[in-house]
């Protein structure tokens, strides 16, 4: 038997191995399933922090490698899988930011155009420009909060786990940030 095939089989068994905690449905989730469920959001969050596609890809890959190596250490007592994987991504991204000694600006590159409920192309363009300009008025922590909420789609409790504050504090910060964005958008309009 080809040793590569044999090794590959062992690896596939490893990633198919259920993680310690159960999902909400009561079934153990494999690492691969978690990866498929979270990759777009993790990448979006990391890219929003780093504003560099290549670096975001490296950090995203590093995030999943670290998560894979530490998957047996996951404990549901310390939060959901999403909070866990985004915590890893956040640490990796902040380490990268600190290493490069530069500020990340959330000047988002063109993203998914298949966004819902935007029915007019001209209106869409105007709104995007307005939103991007409003985003530019936020500080780094507010931009991170926007990325975690609107791009990663985390709940307030998950965000609280990721950034290490209370859930009510996340709600307050989110409310304040949204108001700031609305005012910035109104000002431009």
């Amino acid at each position: 038997m080809d040793p590569r095939l044999d090794r590959s089989k062992g690896v596939n068994e490893a990633i198919a191995e259920p993680m310690p905690a159960l999902t909400q449905a009561g079934k153990a989730e494999t690492f691969e399933a978690l990866y498929r469920r979270t990759l777009p959001r993790v990448y979006a969050y990391v890219a929003a922090l780093l504003h560099d596609r290549a670096t975001a890809e490296d950090v995203t890959a590093l995030t999943y490698e670290r998560a894979y190596r530490k998957r047996r250490g996951f404990s549901a007592l310390r939060g959901t899988r999403e909070a866990w994987i985004f915590g890893i991504a956040r640490n990796a991204a902040l380490d990268e930011l600190r290493r490069r000694k530069r500020q990340a600006k959330l000047e988002v590159e063109p993203g998914d155009l298949a966004a819902p409920a935007i029915d007019d192309l001209a209106d869409l363009t105007v709104k995007r420009e307005t939103v991007r300009a409003a985003l530019a008025t936020l500080d780094a922590r507010e931009r991170e909060l926007v990325a975690l909420k609107f791009m990663a789609g985390l709940s307030n409790s998950e965000i609280a786990r990721v950034i290490g504050v209370s859930e009510s504090n996340v709600g307050t910060r989110l409310h304040r940030t949204v108001n700031k964005l609305r005012e910035a958008c109104d000002g431009r309009a």
Binding site: N12, E65, L94, T172
Partner: protein
Amino acid sequence: MDERETTAVIDRTLAGDPLTTGYPAERELQELTLALSAERPAPDMVFVAELDERVREGFPRVRGNPFARVQGALAARSFGRPPMALMGGVASLLLALLLVVSLTSGSDDDPASTSIVGAGDNASGAREMARPGVDVGEPTPSRRFSRARMDDSISSPLAPVPPRRDGFAPGTRDRRIQRSASLTLAAPADELDSVAADITRITERHRGFVLSSSLTTGDEGATTGGDFELKIPAARLQPALADLAKLGQVRARTQSGEDVTAHFVTAGDRLEAARAERGNLLTRLEQATTDLEAESLRLQLDANAGEINRLHGRIRNLRISTDYATVGVVLEARNGDESAAPGDGLGGALDDALDSLGDSLELAIRILGVLIPLGALAAALAFAARALLRRRRESALS
């Protein structure tokens, strides 16, 4: 719109709920939410395919490059965070062990005191006394706990007196110590006579002598006890005590020593002075010219001779009292219910078990007394290190 409403609207919108039309503020927030989520960057398909492949392979480590493997292993660690809790725990454990060792070795009883009263410590006491080079005044670790239970012990200094450079007799070889010891032995009533004979035999075997002895008899004429006063050469005191202790159950044991070097030296000096005075008086007597003067000198010589004799006697007594130790032995009959030695049988086993339990508790309390504060310190350090690392990371957002 308050914080909770804001969060609720955002969550509903992100979950795909249809936009509302009734409330302008809510509608505005919904549109902002959609616009922000539309800004989500999407990963490149090539990158996704490559990462899919790595995930399927389980992130294989690079082969043939040990440095890359080390880097990979380091990368897999908790993001460069030093294992402060582990290091703190190891350091605490080492410190605790160090402290416990120093406490247990340094918490021994005062070596200058000896308490040698035991409620029936026949076998172990005899063994310890019989051990060569072991002074009964020096407590041993195995005896420490049981000694705490001895409530009627008598302590006395027996440790060797350090040489005094400014004293009467520098150096230990010339020191004169009056030693005395006492033993209370219990033996079965029908063996008291033979034990009494053994006491005399042991005394003679160690080149000592029985100064006095008395045996008491009961109504039926049987021996019920006895008292002995023995003189045993000081150099043979310990082996003699060990042999005596083997004769029965040791119920009490005391030893004491008194340094009489100063008295001995003083008496010797005074004797020399008296002898010099005698020589002087004799010279003056030869040169006396009148009977009155000669008579006066003879009277002084008589007084001088009495002083010399007295000092000779004192020195002889001191020498005898220090060359021979006085050992008092009290012999008692043992009751029937005490026939078993404390170390034997179920009762002895229970005593030993309680002793061991007490020792274990004592050790555990000492260890906990060290570990708890050190553990709290290690936890505080680990917490502080974690907080510091988090702050350093988040400084990238500032």
